[in-house]
Amino acid sequence: MRRRFSREQRLTIVYGILCIVLIIAMLQLWLLMATMNAYLGGDESVIWPAAFVSLIGFSLNSGLLWYLYRMDRKQ
């Protein structure tokens, strides 16, 4: 049987998830700026890899958010 978290524990979890989401979003911002610079400079080699890395970052973020909502539903 799954354990239910207390409200304090859930607040700690949401802080942890928020930190990870913030770090990933900042990395995505840096990646977007670097890719834009490369695109405007005619360097095409990084464009698709950067897009897929950004997609992975978004998938991680949405997975964490999904976990948060699932945790709330089970309370």
Partner: protein
Amino acid sequence: MIGREREGLTIPPDGRSLDEQPKWRQDFPIDWPQAHYLSRRDFTKFMVLISLAFTAGQFWIALKNLWRRRRGELPLQQIATINQLPIGGAKAFVYPEAHDTCLLLRTDETTFVAFSQKCTHLSCAVVPQPDKNRFFCPCHEGSFDLATGAPIAGPPQRPLPRINLEVRDGVIYATGIEVKTI
């Protein structure tokens, strides 16, 4: 209050009991820990939406790049004749589209160079200053080398896009554009 589960209680921000709180807070009690939790969860949701926007931006760049590649070879376009341009002189022209302004310069008897006129910082129009051997952007005082288009001062980081030139029978043609990151 005795016997109630601890996390079901409202805990005011100053940590004192509800009886010690000001009247307005007793009249309108707020479940502070729950409010904290919900505000952090909503901020997390907002950040995930921002993350989605960044990902959409990446794919927009990728699609723009595909569109640029599909455009293929740029057309050959006549710019001027050699006799029209004195040494140290400049001529503005558009290439390849009507809004892409460029500058053709004659640096000596046999050398012609052409660059896009858009500053690579924020797209202001650069002006040639042959006496100082540079293109100057008056918006933020950026400078580019006259011969290579490389940034030499100010905020621009990338060189000016170079227009490839070809001289046939005394006529100068633009044949393509060369963009660089450094």
